[in-house]
Symmetry: C2
Subunit: 265 residues, 2 copies
């Protein structure tokens, strides 16, 4: 079972869109996939057309120990399950910090998944708080969606620091798999500069023993495509809504790239 934390504390970079569309692409390539909505805004759940009632089992009742993992699993389609989040979480979020207080709850819960999935994708909120720490403690690998923008570049350093802290203290096997460029506008001055900076940075890290010394920038890039923004309003991914769109092609290409990478899945 390969667990990927899809993470970037910068907001709106394509984490949820990636988890939903990559998840479906991998499931339709025959892998058994579990998606986890770890965001109090519950956008992954909304994206896949699932709205939980207050008392139904979901990620938070799991994290505070009220429900077992297997009660929270929702089938989405063949080979694809989701642990959803509640949309009504503002209060839960605060109580959660007190109630869970530990970074390894999700990992412990995932260990009970029977049978294990081939791939788990965890959709993280835009912060480096306790929920994200739970994802990092549970994961084998971090996938970092980002926009090729200046402010996005600033955040990567902090993100990697956090990954290293978790790797040193809680999860020795944690690695950064790579960076996925989302909403990518190839050919602009800005994206070229950011891509160059990123490449130079990762090259310079190759000889070290950091969790990102083998990280890559995925060849697949996700172009800006309105179909990706429209499909959530139908509770579907772009593979159902607009199967020939660039959005579908790009996420299919990413799924193939990840499957081909021997150290990934």
């Amino acid at each position: 079972m390969r667990t990927l934390a899809v993470l970037n504390q910068k907001g709106g970079v394509g984490k949820t869109t990636t988890v939903a569309n990559l998840g479906v692409a991998l499931a339709r390539r025959g892998r058994s996939v579990l998606l986890i909505d770890l965001d109090p805004q519950a956008h992954l759940s909304l994206h896949l057309g699932l709205e939980l009632a207050q008392d139904e089992p979901g990620i938070y009742s799991l994290l505070i120990g009220r429900h077992d993992l297997r009660n929270t699993l929702r089938p989405i389609e063949a080979n694809l399950q989701l642990i959803p989040a509640h949309t009504d979480l503002a209060a839960a979020q605060v109580e959660l910090v007190d109630a869970i207080g530990r970074e390894t709850i999700l990992r412990e819960a995932l260990a009970t998944l029977t049978p294990p999935a081939d791939i788990v994708l965890i959709d993280c909120p835009p912060s480096l708080g306790l929920l994200t720490l739970n994802a990092l403690a549970a994961a084998d690998e971090v996938l970092i969606p980002m926009q090729a923008h200046f402010l996005a570049l600033q955040g990567v350093g902090k993100l990697l620091e956090t990954v290293q802290l978790v790797q040193q203290r809680l999860n020795p096997q944690l690695r950064v798999g790579g960076i996925l460029l989302c909403m990518f506008e190839a050919g602009t001055k800005l994206s070229t500069e950011v891509l160059t900076d990123l490449r130079q940075f990762f090259e310079s890290q190759r000889q070290l023993t950091t969790p990102w010394s083998a990280a890559r920038i995925y060849k697949s890039t996700i172009r800006r495509n309105i179909k990706l923004a429209e499909s959530p309003s139908y509770g579907r991914t772009v593979f159902d809504y607009a199967a020939k769109s660039h959005g579908a092609l790009d996420y299919a290409e990413l799924a193939d790239e990840l499957l081909a990478l021997q150290n990934t899945i």
Copy 2:
């Protein structure tokens, strides 16, 4: 002194870009403006070219009571000051929840601003946590940047609930000024649908006594413009970097619209 909380718990919708560019536009129209970087990711500070050393006064040392407000003020240009944030805040954020524990600290600190500014703009993080609650308790008005996307629409309801809670319990005068459409792609099916939904919603609320019953959708919309994404890498706003760009025109238009609205500034 008119205080606007620039707020949306959805990530990456243009909060920081709006505070920086609207702030400069208002300052250059002769208003005295104070900007507050309330985001642990410190993007507003980075955007304006300011990086604080660890021990220098900033928003967090202010919130935990280690520095007074006047020690944190940094001049940016004529009529424009900033209370910056530190980029190294992951640890501070956690300690902050314990240390500040109250939603009115920022409001109390702002009351000491001497002389008062004409306008205060507060850049909020993508969450409805304690920092954002501090902004809402301190503000007269909420300005909500958003993208005309489906997931963005879902978040507005939750945002308004939070505004109402704060208005009922902590800040009776709090109002929602309006919604600012950012990265707006006029003419697409999605943006047209979202705009229609938003308009219908606010129309239906006009006769009520909620904090948003007089809220508007600003006529000024901010088009997607790469200059807005490029200018932070120069530590400047688009008014210096690309003064004739659509980004500059749109934020100038917004500044004029806000100034003309009698109940705003």
